[in-house]
């Protein structure tokens, strides 16, 4: 698994002057073959602007009829290869691109699934419940005391358990099947979202922000209440076991739990991090 690598190539499918236009069907087949193998492709055509080019090497594919031009980057930073694809089938074009990539590594579809939580910051209230819940150190706190996904490689594939503990339905897994975890719009009633309880008179004549402050104080006090580490461990295990039983998370998540000692240690560290971040808010 290579999760921290950059795309080694930017492939450009060139159909401008000096090359022959591909039939639309062939163009789509070539692009599908490259995309499904993990490459990214720029189709150089008309109308819409292309993305600015970046630090990656460029591979320019075109039906140049045997006369692929030799090109050099004006800045000298990027190496440019050109390949003639006249009359080639998608498989042969893919082989050319693989050859041009050489030994440079990249993630390949089918061998690794990008699975990690994505926080919807427009909903997140920074309550830190996800940080306290996750046993695999996926979450952390930023320098400005905000919850962050810091170690997404630690996340257990197909386990969306933390999305269930978020009281704001702010945790998404884009590769999940069902909403709202997959990022679908949230039906506030179904989500059972905790609502701010306000006195109507405070809304009409008073200060709504005092209600928000009270709520944040309540969240802090929930955290500051001493919870026995054993109880916390039990709660997590019970919760995970139930989620496995419901088919919500895969059974191997339970099998890969850290040892009891480690869990207790993690719980203490997570609690301290969460408490410090909440106190600093």
């Amino acid at each position: 698994m290579i999760t921290h690598t950059h795309r080694p190539l930017r492939v450009v499918l060139y159909e401008g002057s000096g090359s022959i236009q591909l039939p639309a069907e062939s163009r789509a087949k070539v692009m599908m073959a490259l995309l499904d193998k993990g490459y990214t492709v720029t189709r150089s055509g008309l109308g819409a602007p292309a993305m600015p080019h970046d630090e990656r090497n460029l591979l320019v594919l075109g039906a140049f009829e045997g006369k692929a031009p030799a090109l050099e980057d004006a800045t000298g930073k990027i190496s440019i290869d050109t390949c003639d694809i006249t009359g080639l089938e998608p498989d042969a074009i893919l082989a050319l691109v693989d050859k041009s990539r050489g030994e440079k590594t990249m993630n390949e579809p089918g061998k690794w699934k990008p699975w990690f939580p994505v926080i919807d910051y427009s909903r997140c209230t920074n309550c830190m419940q996800c940080l306290s819940f996750c046993l695999f150190d996926v979450y952390g706190v930023s320098d400005d005391n905000k919850i962050q996904v810091q170690n997404n490689d630690n996340c257990k594939t197909n386990c969306p358990a933390c999305s269930r503990v978020c009281p704001e339905v702010a945790i998404m897994f884009p590769k999940y099947q069902a909403g709202p975890i997959n990022g679908d719009e949230i039906n506030e009633n179904e989500a059972g979202r905790e609502k701010i309880k306000v006195d109507i008179s405070s809304l009409l004549g008073g200060d709504i922000y005092s209600a928000l402050k009270d709520r944040s104080a309540a969240a802090k006090s929930r955290f500051s209440k001493e919870r026995s580490p054993d109880k916390a461990l039990d709660e997590r295990k019970k919760c995970l076991t139930k989620l496995v039983g419901d088919g919500f998370i895969p059974a191997d998540v339970l099998a890969s739990l850290p040892s009891t000692e480690e869990i207790l240690k993690k719980a203490v560290i997570a609690k301290a991090k969460a408490a410090a971040a909440l106190a600093a808010q």
Binding site: A28, R43, P49, L71, I119, N152, K175
Partner: protein, 145 residues
């Protein structure tokens, strides 16, 4: 050996096309705003987008003359904070065919490169290919200078 730059026709075959980062000119009459950069996400690493829809959208883009960008999987790029997400987010006007807008925005934000607020995100998990292609390839809105 020929020398090429970011402004070479390999990226911008139409001579008068503005660069992606260019903003509108200071004309006082209404004008067609800079065309949006089109981005298509293939969702190749775990295929949660229906293949019929994503194939049809790509075919319709290929049937047009338009330039467009494609990525194999935005989730995979966000997982390793691929700097190309920054290049995409810096394109100004953007139309993206991927999945739920909340998820796509979240991925860019989490990678450290938030999308511009007016980015149009088309959802291949819920919308039809025709609807998406129309939105991607439609003319940019008329705006006043």
């Amino acid at each position: 050996m020929r020398i090429i730059t970011a402004h070479h026709p390999f990226f911008h075959p139409v001579a008068q096309r503005t660069n992606c980062r260019d903003t509108a000119t200071s004309s006082t009459t209404p004008f067609l705003s800079t065309p949006a950069t089109i981005l298509y996400c293939r969702c190749a690493y775990a295929q949660v987008v229906p293949s019929g829809v994503k194939n049809d959208v790509l075919q319709k883009l290929c049937d047009s003359d338009t330039s467009f960008e494609t990525v194999s999987d935005l989730c995979e790029m966000a997982a390793h904070r691929d700097p190309r997400l920054q290049a995409i987010a810096s394109c100004g006007s953007l139309r993206i065919a991927a999945c739920f807008p909340r998820a796509v925005k979240g991925l860019f934000q989490q990678a450290g490169f938030p999308l511009p607020a007016d980015t149009e995100i088309l959802n291949m998990r819920t919308q039809s290919a025709q609807e998406i292609a129309d939105a991607l390839l439609g003319a940019p809105a008329l705006t006043a200078a």
